[in-house]
Symmetry: C2
Amino acid sequence: METRRRADRARQVADLLRGQIVDGQYGRGRLPREAALARDFRISRNTVRAALDLLREEGLVERCPGVGTTVAAEKYPHGLHRLLGLAETLHEHGEVVNLVRTMTLIEPPAAVSQRLRVPPGEQVVYLERLRRLNGVPLSLDLTYLVREVGEPLFDADLAHNDIFVLLEAIAGQPLGTAELSLEAVNADAHTAAALEAPRGAALLMVERLTHLSDGRPVDLEFIRFRGDRLTMRGHLNRE
Amino acid sequence: METRRRADRARQVADLLRGQIVDGQYGRGRLPREAALARDFRISRNTVRAALDLLREEGLVERCPGVGTTVAAEKYPHGLHRLLGLAETLHEHGEVVNLVRTMTLIEPPAAVSQRLRVPPGEQVVYLERLRRLNGVPLSLDLTYLVREVGEPLFDADLAHNDIFVLLEAIAGQPLGTAELSLEAVNADAHTAAALEAPRGAALLMVERLTHLSDGRPVDLEFIRFRGDRLTMRGHLNRE
């Protein structure tokens, strides 16, 4: 690797360290010293510093002269193996509290009514929540719900419950399948402010249409996760 | 929604338009005029403009006075329902061509040898590729392969083949399961340059450890997808 550019080697090492940090190998504690990392990865200390700078730019570590490099913030694993609400998937990591920013009946645009299979003119419930884990903003969620299952939510404790769990109680049946898409987008100024992240911060954007087990689509969500706080984890099979 | 801030309404509309654009509803063509969008979404034209500005910032649309709003670039769907290589999942969308930036035998750091279950001191193949679809950079892939399946790749046509397909031919068995994690990160300056994206652009980062069907881990990859070019699509079940 000697002849490759330092930036390429730094990226390579940063990826390996990122995996170890997200796996919790260093907890919320200190990374090995630069000299030890240089030895482990068979690279120069300048390249170690460049790799740590990349992770600092991602908000994953902090670097203090004399103290070394410490893990700046926990990155939480969101299960991608089955359909789970945020509080369900993070229950081992702390308490999820939701701030309801908006909740109202709306006449949905065609882009919503078509996906929720709602006749033209029929209202749906629109809900906007800022979701925090242990006080830290994790996601901003925009949710459209068919009226039948959405309207009872006006009386529910939305601050402390996942929509999924409430929907199953209301519908009297489990959820079935969800179609989802995952994208990376930069935070616009207002979203960044809501999520207490820098403008332009990378967000993991999830669009998810959830059906009841009887097949009816009931819940269309647009979720912006802070990229520096969340990792989606799952597995795929070849066949 | 009247009393909500314009930025909140704009985000809401941008999410619905993004879904339609990614679904190909407008092809590579023109979006409806501002007045029509304002009517469809029951919002002011100023809010329509704010929503279109958000999509322009994401690189999804272009706006020209007199011409209107056009789709700037195709966003390709990467299947998340089963384990697929890039050329496999995008075969309907064009030709994937890979530029090999580096390919070499290395003594892997512990973070690699542990995951690939390689004894200390045993070498692995390290491979770095820039992957393009129809000439447009889609991803930068850093790959570690156990020597047994990696070394034959020195003689393979890596420019025009997915690693997955080559590995199955070399190993004489299909791949099995892959563990993956998905994150959103901002592009550092050098990665941005390689991907021909702006510095700080949101990237979809995939870490993936792939096993042969007999259970042996053989392929550890760190993949940075351009966020403005790729959407991961799949479904999840509740049970």
